[in-house]
């Protein structure tokens, strides 16, 4: 079985938001909608002050609460672990959005442009999808790229054509993607060699973005 995970090495992330921009470019998300973003967290007290950059987005949970509550079965989990939304089934009740403890879901009610009344840019007009208005949307792990890549015999996480845009764009190598069931994959090796955690694990969702915070103990 394949199970895709995203690994974020917090020791490496510099908070450049290139992944955020790559995601917006790749998925043509509306203004204010960020399927991938990096949080800037300052902690501690002088002189022991630390700054951490935390990439967040849909965690493609093992037990996704968004899927449990969805009344229309629009939210589904694929065999490879990716949580997807059928935009033609979704009724836009936003129940999934309040069920997600990672604030990863968005609902866009109107056709929006980055420059507002000034009009749409050419790429906005070209890539507008009416099916995504009034329904839930979120990170797909670039499932279309993965599907096309796998069909062409490529390996997600290894071959860039089959890898999510955010991972491809990461300048520091902080973001990695791959099959955690494949012991030879880079993500498996990274997780085996370092200490990592998921976010809000106490909620029992089984998040599949893993955060590396230190080397082996």
């Amino acid at each position: 079985m394949t199970k895709y995970v995203l690994v974020a090495d917090l020791r490496r992330c510099v908070g450049c938001q290139t992944c955020t921009a790559a995601c917006k470019n790749s998925n043509a998300t509306a203004p204010g909608v960020q399927w991938r973003k990096v949080l800037d967290i300052e902690t501690g007290e002088f002189p022991d002050v630390r700054r951490t950059f935390l990439p967040v987005g849909c965690m493609h949970c093992d037990d996704p609460p968004c899927m449990t509550v969805c009344p229309s079965t629009a939210t589904q989990k694929r065999a490879d672990g990716i949580v997807i939304i059928d935009y033609d089934l979704c009724i836009g009740c936003a129940y999934c959005a309040v069920a997600c403890p990672y604030q990863a879901r968005f609902k866009v009610s109107d056709r929006l442009s980055a420059y507002g009344a000034a009009g749409e840019m050419a790429h906005e007009a070209a890539r507008f999808d009416p099916a995504m208005i009034g329904v839930a949307q979120k990170c797909t792990f670039c499932s279309d790229r993965i599907d096309e890549g796998v069909a062409a015999g490529l390996v997600p996480g290894k071959d860039w054509q089959a890898t999510p845009a955010c991972v491809n764009s990461c300048i520091s190598g902080a973001l990695q993607f791959g099959d955690i069931e494949d012991k030879e994959s880079l993500v498996s090796q990274l997780l085996a060699a370092n200490q990592s955690s998921g976010m809000h694990e106490d909620l029992g969702t089984g998040p599949n973005i893993r955060y590396i915070w230190d080397g082996a103990p």
Binding site: L10, V69, P71
Partner: protein
């Protein structure tokens, strides 16, 4: 995992905006309508026809209210596709026999149908409470102590409305329900604070505690007692109105003011270059 990290915008929990007053309207209509059906059966002061009509009107208005909120309203039939796990689907499915039995009570002025509608109404009310509990992203909703609050306030709102329509009769039942609701509401607030919740949620709840206590519980009980002692039904009517409106206020507060999301947390502060990892960070929680 709580800590003293100051609130950080975009990281600490913030007020959800996905469900607004229209969603609150569904919980208000559903709670008051089904609570009214139960109270009408229990008190027996109203004709089955009138009781079913009023109860179903409230439930229907609630459903219409939430229908106005969904992004694709003309696809709402898809709501029925996931009874295996979704409490929203279950609520929709339970609404069908509720309206069928209530409709029979209206058409034939049937007490048996009204009793059936009231029993199904209790299930509907339970589904609504479970809808909130399943929303894992909102700590104030997912807390198990909210379920009895939602049940009790629905019944209280309905009983309050019944006292209004029955011109003061049924005051004793309403007083009991008001006391029960207040006790459960107090427990919910206490347990939420004990178990940990977003600071914004606790602030929003604390801000309205006095109004809820005085206007929503003490005042209606005093009015209902005075109405019984003085034989003044209009005081009981006023008490019924206050008890009902207080329940609506609690729901508006829960859905639109206290519904802070989970926010983000750092499982561990990472090592950067040298040193050791820092403790987990969860800003904005109390």
């Amino acid at each position: 995992m709580t800590d003293q990290t100051p609130e950080i915008k975009g990281v600490s929990p913030w007020l959800q905006t996905n469900w607004d007053i229209r969603a609150a309207g569904n919980f208000i209509g559903g709670g008051t309508g089904t609570g009214f059906l139960v109270a009408a059966v229990f008190l027996g002061f109203l004709s089955p026809r009138l009781a079913a009509f009023v109860g179903l009107t409230f439930v229907g208005l609630g459903l219409f209210s939430v229908w106005l909120e969904i992004g694709r309203p003309w696809r709402s039939i898809n709501l029925f596709f996931h009874p295996q796990t979704s409490w929203m689907t279950r609520e929709g499915l339970v609404a069908l026999p509720l309206f069928a039995l209530g409709g029979l009570a209206v058409l034939f002025n049937s007490q048996a149908a009204l009793i059936g509608a009231a029993l199904v109404g209790l299930v509907y009310l339970y589904c609504q409470a479970r809808i909130l509990m399943a929303a894992k992203g909102i700590p104030a909703w997912r807390h198990p102590a909210l379920l009895p609050v939602m049940m009790a306030t629905g019944l209280t709102e309905g009983a309050g409305l019944a006292v209004v329509l029955a011109q003061g009769q049924g005051a004793f039942l309403l007083i009991l329900l008001i006391a029960l609701r207040f006790d459960l509401w107090r427990r919910y607030n206490r347990r939420l604070a004990q178990d940990g919740a977003p600071a914004g949620t606790l602030r929003a709840l604390a801000l309205r505690q006095k109004q809820i206590l005085i206007a929503g519980h003490i005042a209606p009980v005093v009015l209902l007692v005075l109405a019984s002692l003085l034989g003044a039904p209009f005081l009981a009517t006023l008490g019924g109105v206050l008890a009902t409106v207080a329940g609506w206020g609690i729901k508006v507060l829960l859905i639109t003011k206290a519904a802070y999301n989970q926010g983000f947390a750092l499982p561990r502060v990472p090592v950067r270059g040298q040193g050791s990892p820092g403790a987990p960070v969860k800003p904005g929680w109390a």
